[in-house]
């Protein structure tokens, strides 16, 4: 799941937990999922480096990223 989908799901979970119309079991299961997603979203943010690259097309049409020259 990408970062965007992860955050969207987190918002869904928070909203559902906030409404408090769930059974205790559902609540706890959602909470557990939410905590896992929080962790992976935070890790994704921490891991990203903010690189600037250039998309280059090879002779065979394959596309690859190269570090952008300064």
């Amino acid at each position: 799941m990408n970062f965007e989908a992860e955050l969207n799901r987190l918002e869904e979970i928070a909203l559902a937990l906030d409404r408090a119309d769930l059974s205790l079991d559902e609540s706890l299961a959602l909470f557990e999922e939410g905590i896992q997603r929080l962790r992976s979203a935070s890790e994704a943010l921490a891991k990203a480096e903010g690189r600037v690259t250039t998309l280059v097309e090879q002779a065979d049409g394959a596309l690859e990223e190269r570090d952008a020259g300064n």
Binding site: E4, L7, I13, L17, D18, L24, L30, G50, V52, E65
Partner: protein, 431 residues
């Protein structure tokens, strides 16, 4: 505009003293005789040296082209014809004069749109002679209308076509992702636009990657180059959103972003697109087709990338909401549990009380049926030696000992006689 001589500049012939005034003597004496064979007399001075019409028109053409450098002229368009051969023919006129104009097919692609009859235009080109008709003719290479009329006309024509196909429909616009991790930028790799975008993104959110997809953004090759770059982005799919950008420039500089092929490539891009072309006032076809139009490249970067601190704060807030929500739910569960436990003990107590009441009720009924109560009212029960109640006359026989049980004790007795027949009530009545 610099006045420059065309390659066909006439050679300056040496004026010959005493000669009759030449037909071709211009005010400055610039006369071409290059194509005229000079014999005894100057060409055309006598019947013998009469010029051919070809010579005449070629001479006129050389003189005109030499004397009048390429220049801008202005006038009203009439009789416009786009010929099958690709050339455009029209007349430029004002209140008192007119001149035939032509735009050769090789120059047509650089002109944004066909002018309409009645349009006031400025044309840049070379004054010349159309030999076949012996007419003066203006060969235009560029055409501009008052108020950028041709650009607007081309813009509106393209927009109308795209609109008719539904490509400008707001309903087909894709949502811009709220949290992109990787932003592709289709632009010139060494333009100001790219610099603006990368610095804004670095300032707002240093965790977002930027992938530059190089493209020429001005000149005749620009549309094809932008289309190819968009095709690469679409094929690669490694980005979350695409910015198509170019810094400010003249209307002509930005024209690639009004190109129909570019518009179609943007519309067909599977990723969400943000256009950022020129300055705030510049609106291009690309802007209309893109999923989001940003006024400038910097604004595009701001629209594409949220501030990192805001994301972090948002995640923290989500965590708080989740914790509060689950705690509230747990509190409700605890309360429910306590209430259930209370209910249970109340029910248990009630159940015991109900049973006790029932026992008492039964006990009361048993009590009421007890013979002791009857004894208490003054009756007696006869029992034999074994304690069996002697309830009928048949249980007695003469001289049999028995006991009379009374309220407060027993009395020993012996049967003296037995009289079957009348019961106690009858005897009571007769006795």
């Amino acid at each position: 505009m610099t006045a420059r001589r065309g390659s066909g500049a006439p050679r300056r012939g040496a004026p010959r003293r005493g000669a009759a005034p030449s037909l071709f003597d211009g005010g400055d004496g610039a006369v071409s005789r290059a194509c005229v064979t000079v014999r005894d007399a100057a060409p055309g001075e006598s019947v013998e040296t009469a010029l051919t019409i070809t010579d005449l028109t070629q001479t006129a053409k050389a003189i005109l082209e030499g004397a009048v450098p390429p220049l801008w002229i202005r006038g009203e368009v009439s009789n416009f014809t786009a010929h099958r051969n690709g050339h455009w023919y029209f007349t430029l006129k004002d209140a008192s004069a007119a001149i035939s104009c032509v735009i050769w097919s090789r120059d047509v692609p650089r002109i944004p749109a066909m002018p309409d009859d009645g349009m006031q235009v400025m044309a840049y080109g070379q004054l010349s002679v159309y030999a076949a008709r012996g007419q003066m003719q203006f060969m235009a290479r560029a055409l501009e209308a008052e108020g950028e009329g041709l650009w607007r006309k081309a813009f509106e024509a393209t927009r109308a076509r795209l609109e008719k196909e539904g490509l400008l429909d707001p309903a087909r616009k894709k949502a811009i992702p709220r949290f992109p991790r990787r932003v592709a930028v289709v632009t010139s790799p060494d333009g100001a636009a790219l610099h603006d975008i990368t610095s804004v993104i670095a300032r707002r959110n240093a965790s977002v990657d930027v992938v530059v997809v190089p493209a020429a953004v001005q000149g005749e090759a620009a549309p094809a180059s932008i289309v190819a770059a968009l095709e690469r982005v679409a094929r690669w799919r490694g980005a979350d959103v695409v910015i198509i950008a170019r810094g400010g420039g003249s209307r002509e500089d930005l024209w690639a972003f009004n190109d129909e092929a570019v518009a179609r490539a943007i519309a067909g891009c599977p990723l969400p697109t943000i256009s950022a072309v020129g300055h705030e006032v510049d609106i291009t076809i690309a802007d209309l087709v893109a999923d989001l139009r940003a006024a400038t490249p910097s604004a595009a970067a701001e629209a594409a990338v949220p501030v990192l601190e805001d994301i972090v704060a948002g995640i923290a807030a989500l965590q708080q909401t989740m914790i509060a929500g689950v705690e509230r739910r747990a509190t409700i569960a605890r309360r429910d549990l306590r209430r259930l436990a209370g209910d249970l003990s109340i029910r248990a107590r009630r159940s015991v009380e109900r049973r006790r009441a029932r026992v008492q009720q039964v006990a009361g009924r048993i009590d009421a049926l007890s013979p002791l109560n009857t004894l208490a009212r003054g009756y007696a029960v006869a029992r034999d030696a074994q304690g069996h109640a002697l309830g009928t006359v048949a249980a007695f026989s003469p001289d049999q000992p028995f006991a009379l049980v009374l309220r407060d004790g027993q009395v020993g007795a012996t049967v003296t006689s037995v009289h079957p027949g009348a019961g106690p009530t009858a005897r009571g009545v007769t006795g």
